[in-house]
């Protein structure tokens, strides 16, 4: 074989390589090509092995030609690899593609919610804690003394009519009740805590009423109590107003009007701007522009006496209203009885 033949062989190998490499579609094809042409047993190596049969003076030149071809092919293969590697990565990624929205029932745990009453209670607590109040608690089963007597509601007092109580078969007859309001907690707090007191008392209460769209047998109230030196009716009005604006927003204001509660004197009912019509008058507020929210007043001297607080030195105010009622207003709940049915569709709807 002379140099001419060699050149022709090499150019036919190179031609074949160019043809084949144009058809390379994958890293695997590229590897096959490398193996066929430039591996130890590849076509270029086979030509190299024939070098021995050539005249010695031609060998360096021939070697040069063969090596040049190998380097060209190797460089070509190296240049082609990255694009093919990238294509391979994309192919692997495509194979693992999927639909992230395909969520089969039962896989999702779901997010639960707090009960509407709990959410309302927390919001109320936060407002008053923000004002500097603490949160106090008391038992749901109360003695008649805490629930009535200590609050200046003696037996046969007309005020006992409005809050017909569930009496329990416990101790002496009619001595223990399911508390009808959160006010007995006031008494406990005044007995057990150091003065001054700035506290709210949320909790469940019970009234012997037939359940209907606006009442459930058990429901929730929040009570507030402030006892300190120099506390005035003006402070009560200011606190009610601060609460009203914080909870209902700047469009809603409060007003107090005379009322009667045995455990406060003077007593007041507090009303807020109707949240439906913003005060212009609608069915909800009987066209008055105001809706009743709760009761309040200055702590009655008899209550102070029952718990041993000197009413000449200290004065205080108390207020209370329904938590469930606020939930009903906020979420426009047509029938309060749904609150105790615990239908998960309902609980998770708002």
């Amino acid at each position: 074989m002379d140099l001419e033949e060699l050149s022709s062989t090499l150019s036919s190998i190179e031609g074949e390589y160019r043809e084949r490499s144009a058809a390379v579609a994958s890293l695997h094809d590229l590897e096959t090509l490398r193996s066929e042409f430039v591996s130890k047993k590849g076509k270029v190596a086979l030509v190299y092995r024939q070098l021995g049969a050539m005249p010695a003076e031609m060998r360096p030149k021939a070697g040069e030609l063969i090596n040049a071809l190998r380097e060209r092919i190797e460089a070509d293969i190296a240049a082609a690899a990255p694009a093919l590697e990238e294509a391979a990565r994309l192919e692997r990624l495509a194979a693992t593609a999927g639909d992230p929205s395909a969520l089969v029932a039962g896989v999702r745990r779901g997010a639960g919610r707090l009960h509407l009453v709990t959410r309302t209670r927390i919001q109320l607590e936060d407002i008053f804690v923000g004002m500097g109040f603490t949160v106090e608690e008391g038992p749901e089963v109360e003695s008649e003394w805490y629930n009535f007597e200590a609050l200046n509601i003696p037996k046969y007092h007309p005020a006992r009519d409005g809050q017909d109580s569930f009496y329990l078969n416990l101790g002496e007859e009619d001595s223990m009740v399911l508390r009808t309001h959160t006010s007995p907690v006031q008494v406990r707090v005044m007995q057990n805590r150091e003065l001054p007191i700035y506290a709210i008392m949320p909790g469940r209460v019970f009234r012997r009423d037939t359940a209907d769209a606006r009442h459930t047998v058990g429901f929730h109230q929040i009570e507030g109590l402030v006892v300190d030196k120099g506390i005035t009716f003006g402070h009560l009005a200011g606190t009610i107003e601060n609460f009203t604006r914080e909870y209902f927003g700047p469009d809603i204001t409060s007003r107090l009007r005379p009322a009667y509660f045995p455990f406060t004197e003077p007593s007041a009912e507090f009303e807020i701007t109707c949240t439906i019509c913003k005060g212009s008058g609608c069915r909800t507020c009987s066209h008055t522009g105001w809706i009743e929210l709760g009761g309040c007043g200055m702590v009655h001297p008899n209550v102070f006496e029952a718990v041993g607080v000197d009413s000449e030195q200290y004065s205080g105010f108390a207020f209370g209203f329904g938590i469930d009622r606020l939930a009903q207003m906020r979420w426009e709940i047509p029938d309060m009885r749904v609150l105790t049915e615990n239908d998960i569709r309902y609980l998770s709807s708002v």
């Binding site: 639960g112 009960h115 003695s143 078969n169 223990m176 107090l256 009667y260 009987s286």
Partner: protein
């Protein structure tokens, strides 16, 4: 109470408060008065206009009445309403007959309350208008039938002219329990007259000076509960006529006109707040009645036809009711509550004995409550009737009837008026405002208070007899505040000298709720009061606290466990077809106290229920472990988990944990106390609430919060974690079915103390070959890489701990 404008105007000229010539006069007047009433604590719950908007209502004479085929509740009425021909009306009332005169609202009329009359067709019969009741015309509250008109009225005449309709306004007022003085027109009018500073006067009263008077026989009143008894004997009242306005105003105030003698009695009650009782003298043995306490069990038939037993002791405590008795000492009425049937005024009554009395508010309240009988009279007496109003009431009665009594006998036990001192500095300090004292003192004078100065800044007030609500200084403070106007008291900022905060338990309650919600549980609120037998259905035979006066028997037993409520909620959801229900609840449970204690054992618990129709519910033990981890508590120290079977089903129910699967549940014990329970719910409990729909499985966890999650975790140092590689090996053990996986895990964990170790159950096998548990153990040392030899020793240590007596055997 229903306050009638024209009636109030008998006391002061409230008509002058608005411009009579201006449009909408009555609306303006009503709004002005309602604002004043509200500001003074007489809460206006409704305003009704009467005698207005009746321009198109005419008098109609009923000519023919025909039944309608297939309709029992309506009839076809042909009326003559002056149109020249008969008009056909369909009517549902039955209180009239042919020849009666009734009001007709023709098609196109708009009745009070924006009720438009259109042409209607009922059962195929056209109705060209509506025949009206008093209430439909806003002329009264009577709704039992049509308003029957005088037969002297002309058919076709406008109703307003024919019966002299007077425009009027009725205020529906809610009067607070402490203001008995405002429970009558006199009181409301006085309050408003003071508010508007209008001249105030009492309407004409009959002059009784010339009437023969005597003191009642001292034996007539034989009880401390009656301090005044005035008896007036009237001759023949059968021809007496009360003024036209009496029945009209009574109708507007909500009372039906009956007869002159009864109407006058009711009128005086609504006007002066004094209940009176007229007796038919013919039914009494003598013109005399007395008051005494009823004997135990003494019986009487009241006006409502009911036989009632009096002075019946309740629960061992004596009960004292008062009765009115005739001269033979026979009970003829329950004093202050309701008269008896025997001496009721009737159509043929001629002579009347009028009783005007004053009774102890407390005794009437007790009697009324005991008998479950409330009347207009008892409602007034139990709040307190003005003891000074009896004489004027009698004079007013006499004036209305137009007849003077023939004789008056009276008994009176007077008591000194209440006197209350007010420190002006205290007044201003409590209200936080500086007040126009002189103006306010004048207001009180107009309300009937008198006063004198004791010393500088201290006034002593003599309280009028109609104000039992004013007895201490604070009451006067309220009276001053009311006259000043609550709205005029300036709001002041409360400056709290403390930092607000929640307690640990309160923060925990929120954290537990948020944690549970994040795990997919919905918060439930279930009933505290359960039905009898409801807890027994879940295995609880302990005694329970019950309500002595339930509304409904289904709500009469206090819950000892949260299970019944959670199961009720589950049942409700299953009935609606839910297959996936996760609920949690925080609430109180109650059990009978130890002997001697009054208060029950009231504890706060939390419960989680997870139900799946298919597949496994949330794992109750996993939830417990996560809760303890999340809140920094250690389930392996101070607590112990044992199978329910070990402590026995009775003991578990005794502790108030119910409804669990006996073989697939655990008890959480702290010391010797049960503080929680968890596992699968009993299939029977599921079936109890879910019926055939409950085919899935439910996991359940209930904890005593105070004894578990409310505990404050100990403050721990932060640990430094090992930087060395971790080694891992699996151990498989054959175990008894009773063995608790957590116990084995704990043993292995304890054997690896001193290392950074994690022991996790990775497989449970249950089959023919018995039961086996496979744990994956991951270990590292804090100061070195563990070598192979060391790891072998560690592995042997773990195995040894697991297979110790009563434990497991290693599987090959």
């Amino acid at each position: 109470m229903r306050a009638v404008l024209s009636w109030l105007c008998d006391f002061a000229d409230f008509y002058s408060l608005a411009d009579r010539q201006a449009p909408g006069y009555y609306d303006v007047l009503a709004a002005t008065l309602a604002d004043a009433m509200n500001a003074r604590g007489l809460v206006v719950e409704g305003i009704e206009k009467s005698g207005m908007g009746l321009d198109r209502v005419v008098v109609a004479k009923v000519v023919e009445i025909h039944p309608i085929k297939g309709a029992e509740r309506i009839r076809r009425i042909m009326v003559d309403a002056g149109a020249g021909e008969l008009e056909q009306i369909v009517c549902g009332a039955f209180n009239f007959s042919e020849g009666d005169h009734v009001p007709l609202a023709r098609v196109g009329t708009v009745l009070p309350g924006d009720f438009a009359i259109g042409l209607r067709k009922m059962k195929g019969v056209e109705s060209h208008g509506m025949l009206c009741s008093a209430r439909e015309l806003a002329l009264g509250t009577d709704y039992d039938g049509l308003l029957l008109l005088d037969k002297g009225t002309d058919p076709g005449a406008p109703l307003a002219e024919a019966i002299n309709v007077v425009p009027d306004i009725v205020f529906d007022l809610a009067i607070e329990a402490n203001r008995p003085d405002a429970n009558c027109h006199l009181g409301v009018a006085r309050e408003l007259a003071v508010h508007f500073r209008l001249p105030f006067s009492i309407p004409a009263l009959a002059d009784l000076c010339g009437v023969k008077r005597s003191d009642l026989d001292p034996g007539a009143v034989r009880t401390e509960g009656c301090d005044a008894l005035l008896l007036a004997r009237f001759g023949d009242v059968s021809a007496a006529v009360v003024p036209d306005y009496v029945p009209r105003r009574l109708g507007l105030a909500g009372m039906r006109s009956i007869s002159a003698a009864v109407d006058a009695s009711n009128y005086v009650m609504l006007e002066f707040g004094q209940p009176t009782h007229p007796y038919d003298l013919a039914a009494l043995p003598a013109a005399y009645v007395g008051v005494r306490e009823a004997g135990v069990g003494e019986e009487l038939t009241t006006l409502d036809g009911k036989r009632r037993a009096l002075s019946v002791p309740k629960g061992g405590a004596p009960a004292v009711d008062m009765v009115i008795v005739d001269s033979n000492d026979q009970a003829i009425g329950v004093a202050g509550v309701m008269g008896g049937e025997s001496s009721e005024i009737g159509a043929d009554t001629r002579s009347v004995l009028l009783e005007v009395a004053h009774f102890s508010a407390q005794m009437i309240a007790k009697t009324s409550k005991r008998l479950g009988l409330r009347s207009e009279a008892s409602a007034r007496f139990e709040r307190g009737v003005d003891p000074e109003i009896a004489e004027p009431a009698l004079a007013r009665y006499s004036q209305l009837l137009g007849i003077l009594p023939e004789e008056i006998a009276c008994y009176r036990r007077t008591s000194a008026p209440a006197v209350v001192r007010l420190r002006l500095a205290r007044l201003e300090a409590l209200l936080g405002a500086s007040l126009p004292i002189e103006k306010l003192v004048r207001d009180l004078e107009l309300m009937g208070f008198s006063w004198h100065r004791i010393e500088e800044g201290v006034l002593e007030f003599v309280i009028p007899s109609n104000r039992p609500d004013v007895r201490i200084e604070a009451d006067l403070v309220e009276e001053f505040a009311r006259h000043y106007g609550y709205a005029n008291i300036e709001r002041r900022q409360l400056l709290v000298p403390k930092v607000g905060h929640l307690t640990h338990a309160q923060r925990m309650r929120r954290a537990i709720s948020e944690f549970s919600a994040a795990r997919g549980f919905q918060e439930a609120w279930s009933a505290t009061l359960l039905a009898p037998g409801e807890q027994e259905a879940y295995g609880d035979d302990a005694a329970k606290i019950t309500v002595s006066n339930p509304m409904a028997v289904e709500e009469s037993v206090l819950r000892r466990s949260l299970v019944p409520g959670m199961l009720r909620s589950l049942g409700a959801n299953l009935r609606r077809g839910e297959a996936h229900v996760d609920l949690f609840e925080l609430g109180k449970v109650f059990s009978i106290p130890a002997a001697g204690a009054d208060f029950p054992n009231e504890t706060e618990r939390a419960a989680w229920l997870s139900y799946r129709a298919d597949g496994g519910p949330e794992h109750a033990y996993g939830l417990l472990a996560d809760l303890f981890d999340r809140f920094g508590l250690d389930l392996s120290s101070g607590f112990e988990l044992v199978r329910s079977a070990e402590i026995g089903p009775g003991a578990l129910a005794q502790a108030g944990y119910l409804g669990l699967h006996p073989g697939n549940s655990l008890v959480l014990v702290a010391g010797s106390r049960v503080v929680g329970a968890l596992g699968m719910l009993h299939p029977q409990a599921l079936a109890h609430v879910g019926g055939e729909g409950a085919t899935g499985q439910a996991g359940y966890l209930e904890l005593d919060l105070v004894a578990t999650l409310f505990l404050e975790p100990e403050l721990k140092r932060a640990v430094s974690v090992s930087p060395y590689p971790r080694a891992e090996f699996d151990l498989s053990f054959a175990v008894e079915r009773e063995m608790l996986a957590v116990h084995l895990e704990k043993r292995v964990g304890e054997a690896l103390a001193g290392l950074e170790a994690r022991v996790q159950l990775i497989d449970e096998y249950l089959g023919a070959g018995g039961r086996s548990l496979t744990y994956r153990v991951t270990v590292a040392a804090s100061d070195r890489t563990l070598g192979e030899a060391e790891l072998r020793v560690i592995r042997e240590r773990a195995i040894a701990a697991a297979v110790e007596p009563g434990g497991a055997t290693l599987r090959g």
